[in-house]
Amino acid sequence: MKNNIYLPYVMTIDRIIEEAPGVRTFRLKFKDKEEENAFSFRAGQFAEYSAFGEGECTFCIASSPTRKEYIECTFRKAGRVTSGLERLEEGATMGFRGPFGNFFPIEEWKGKNLLFVAGGIALPPMRCVIWNILDRRDEFGDITIVYGAKSENDLVYKQELKEWGERSDVRLVTTVDPGGETPSWKGEVGFVPSILEKTAPSSANSIAVVCGPPVMIKFSFPVLEKLGFADDCIYTTLENRMKCGVGKCGRCNIGKYYVCKDGPVFTKKQLNDLPSEY
């Protein structure tokens, strides 16, 4: 059949990285060289990943489009499909269908300061943008990253956090929820919105990208407003439940907008006009 939109690419799991308890990163490579060469995506787009026999689930692509030789995804084992993925070993085959949805307009951000605010397992979608920006570092202004998780152990990409923290051209602030720290913890202690307020990044010529659990987003928006970020300078990526990823299955809509087609990237200004169904 020509162009079966449900047929995934067949990928090999090249590498598995344990990020945090229950959280893994898979590095995937195309089995078919022609498919790999024809493939491209933009930072912020998502895909459907499958463990054959268990089903498909939706994550943003966690690697940067500037790293062309592989695709990475990071997921927490939480349901049937992610448990199925977790059972796969290096060298195993899995499915990848995408890229879908819109993307962060990073070409419009050239010359601007960038603030990234992320919580827990929501760093992966943002990591794609961060590496995309860092691989083109001189095109952008100051970069600030505020990232928090429940506990020190729950922070993902620990090696990369270390790397970003050591860079002089990145300001990285990491935090853990009260009680989540160990005696040797050198970062902040507190919830992301309050640490964001304490960090007080300037809103002048700046773009903020916020990604995290709904409650973190809810309390981070007023802080950004207080800091002077206009609603059309605040971006987030929504993760409504999806099946098809291509605007057919009917479950990710917020009012008349489909997260899979019109999103997943929205500005706060756009969200203001949407019904509260996300």
Partner: protein, 341 residues
């Protein structure tokens, strides 16, 4: 549009030819108190008495489970294979109703508005619809309130109207329809003049217009009407399963040993799990929100996004509802209700 006259007594002869020359003919078949579109092998199996079938005709192009592809696992390796296009049968849908025929238009729009769903399109291309005008209706019918009618030709390939004398009028809308006429050229006599079929049609009065409903829905998201209307909804999803235009689906894997298939199956926005996140968070936690989604999707989002109404007025949802929610009554009250507050 070409028009032909055929003697009513010859219609079965024509159907016999169609059965002979088509892989699959689906027609209304009685099963106890219910009527379903089922494959027939002789014209006599067809039920001509029912107002509509219990379930809609969407299953001809959107089966309740559809194989999207198959997979085979060997060690760490998995290979995929597709369903061959030949396995979708050439189908004639016989004695559909005008509300069945027009229901294929929203499905066409959903499966093609952006990405093209070629599994759907292959099935659709192999379908020819012969609808019959309604000479009878019941209290759940409301096609005339949503732009349809008992003699509507929209979406069909041929519309047959059993006239009040010994004749039937066949209005041929498409090439596919013309092909079925050409199976029995001697049975049909082309007519030039407009044969008036209106006296042979059921009288279904219009109680509201879809434009009225759409206008009122613009500010209705936070209306209290959704709670009132859905208070007794049990979220069973029967309305969605019998609906000719409901096309929401789930995708699941079905595996046995090393072989398996990825399937899509019917789903419904009325189910509480439909939008529930893995975390347990649900953007539509209450039944009233899910009922609101159902009506807004059909009467507001679909017209807005894909320029087609998601309702044909067939009334199946009202007939199927185990707690007697009547959608026409709900739409009537929406069209006559002030939602500003």
């Amino acid at each position: 549009m070409k028009r032909y006259i055929i003697e009513k007594s010859k219609v079965n002869e024509w159907l016999k030819q169609i059965i002979k020359s088509t892989e699959r003919v689906l027609a209304p078949v009685k099963d106890g108190e219910k009527v379903y579109f089922r494959p027939i092998t002789s014209p006599q199996e067809t039920d001509y008495d029912s107002v509509t079938t219990t379930e809609s005709a969407k299953e001809t192009v959107f089966p309740r489970t559809e194989t999207l592809f198959r997979f085979k696992t060997e060690g760490k390796d998995t290979t995929l294979s597709e369903v061959s296009a030949e396995s979708y049968p050439q189908t004639v849908l016989w004695r559909a109703r005008p509300c069945d025929a027009v229901g294929f238009l929203p499905l066409d729009a959903i499966f093609n508005w952006d990405y093209k769903d070629n599994i759907y399109n292959l099935r659709r291309a192999k379908l020819t619809i012969v609808s019959f005008s309604c000479n009878t209706s019941d209290s759940c019918c409301f096609c005339t309130s949503v732009g349809g009618g008992p003699g509507n030709t929209e979406g069909t390939d041929i519309l047959v109207t059993l006239l009040n004398d010994e004749r039937a009028l066949a209005e041929v809308v498409t090439e596919k329809g013309e092909k079925l006429i050409s199976l029995c050229p001697t049975l049909f006599k082309a007519v030039e003049s407009d044969e008036d079929k209106s006296s042979a049609l059921a009288k279904i009065s219009s109680r509201f217009t879809s434009e009225q409903v759409q206008e009122h829905l613009k500010n209705a998201f936070d209306s209290s009407i959704w709670k009132q209307q859905s208070a007794r909804c049990i979220g069973c999803g029967a309305c969605a399963f019998v609906c000719p235009t409901c096309a929401c689906f789930d995708i699941q894997d079905d595996k046995c040993g090393r072989d398996g298939k990825r399937i899509r199956c019917w789903d419904s926005c009325g189910f509480s799990l439909f939008t529930k996140h893995t975390s347990g968070y649900n953007p539509r936690p209450e039944q009233s929100m899910r009922w609101r989604q159902r009506l807004l999707h059909k009467f507001s989002y679909m017209p807005d996004r894909i320029k087609v109404l998601g309702c044909t007025g067939c009334g199946r949802c009202s007939r199927a509802c185990p707690v007697d929610m009547n959608i026409a009554e709900h739409l009537y009250s929406i069209a006559n209700y002030n939602h500003e507050k």
